[in-house]
Symmetry: C2
Subunit: 267 residues, 2 copies
Amino acid sequence: MTDQKNNLATRERILDAAEWLFMENGYEATSMRLITRAAAVNLAAVNYHFGSKEALLCEVFRRRLAWINQERLQLLDRLEQEANGSPLKPSQILEAFFGTLLRVGEDPALGGMTFLRLLGRTLTEPAEFVRSFFATEYAAVIERYKQALFRALPDVPRAEIVWRMHFMLGAMSYAIAGTDVIRVVTGHDVSDMAGEDEQGDEDGRMFARRLAQRLMPFLLGGLRAPLPSFDVPAVRHAHAASSIEDWATGGRTAAIRPPNQSEEMQQ
Amino acid sequence: MTDQKNNLATRERILDAAEWLFMENGYEATSMRLITRAAAVNLAAVNYHFGSKEALLCEVFRRRLAWINQERLQLLDRLEQEANGSPLKPSQILEAFFGTLLRVGEDPALGGMTFLRLLGRTLTEPAEFVRSFFATEYAAVIERYKQALFRALPDVPRAEIVWRMHFMLGAMSYAIAGTDVIRVVTGHDVSDMAGEDEQGDEDGRMFARRLAQRLMPFLLGGLRAPLPSFDVPAVRHAHAASSIEDWATGGRTAAIRPPNQSEEMQQ
DNA sequence: GATTATTTCAAACGTTCGTTTTAAAGTCAA
DNA sequence: TTGACTTTAAAACGAACGTTTGAAATAATC
């Protein structure tokens, strides 16, 4: 077989080009001709090696997510083993889940920031085949981490934990995918961000690390925020009218905190 | 003019159809023929009334964002006027900014959940014309709120506040746009969510309200989380290896809290 | 009611899309 | 070297895309 010489090189070159172009332009706006030209292969090569454009996108994700989700499961295994029996701390769980992903951003060999941005953008992709692909790809990992958080926060309603997982996923995806949004929206204020054009070998590492150290406290703070009070005052908006109090202030109930430990993060 | 009878009806019918289809399929995957068929107008009507497909998308946003951002500015005006001189509480600022948007989700006349989801999805849109459109559309509002947060949290580095604004925007956008993501990813666990097919008159209101009461505490908790420590230990990942401590736990520095007030949310 | 302006309509424009086809080139085992 | 198999290559496929055209229909102005 020529797999070790040219075939693999062709496949890999297509995957690399597709990963970058999908990230840059989005799936629909990236044509096969653009991809194959960037990869310096024949137009028919994608259909030959992957079958279709949809299958190509899935493969772009699979080759990265396989490592990521395996790492996530292994980390959780080890943590639970070391804790032998007692529930983990939320910070450990978050670090295992999000930290793994952020570490991918630091390592171009694992996909780097290019893949992270593509992932963030694609998670909101409306296309059906994308959604069902992610569903199967993520199912096991999410279930494990969900259960771990349930154990870590036994006094918190499970529905609430699921919601906050959702919020945390969103904050991270956006933080990664929307690098331009923060620039545009904040008036190019964050001066120490990485360049977005060149795939920034060193810039990407720096960006991922800074993002990590800023994002994790935010996520933990959100996860452990006080529960909302459940008597909802029906807020009627009044076209620049009266009521600005209510649920914005959350409830006065107990803060979310792991049961038998005080956690190192106090405020 | 026929603007009051048929012309406006045509324009509006196109905008409504486009809003829904862009939300459902994304911009690129929604064709002019799909839009005009759904709106029951001639294919050429979009180009006649709006000029191009891009201009149509911009108009879809403009007719909603005009109200939203005006409301945001008015709310901030009033809050600062009532506070006469002293800085606002972070919870007030967040409620004015995010609460306005979430109230749009409750009111179909303002766009409802359909528009909110479209907004969330489009903020990560790579297309250049979309980004520059949002940049000009949001510039004034973001600047005002940024300054308000700077005043509200004078002890927090400004770059940190900007980052956390970004995280909050992301959490909310995702929470709105990724309704299917949370279902798919969590195994359809959140049982009390609104339907996603029919534009759910009453469902949409309920969903937006529940989302609001769960999201706001999360955002406040994240915004006011402890600052990260700034001596970054270079975390090397080790393919299921050693280090799981470090920045996940954040720093031990003071929590972010407005200067001269204790805030009602304690944990 | 005639005239002007506005809006709708069917048809076609040229381009680009993802995919397929058919043949040539390359690779490896016997 | 032969023969089977894999990979590349150029060309073409039909379909769908956003947009334009020019005439018919409708509404507004005088």
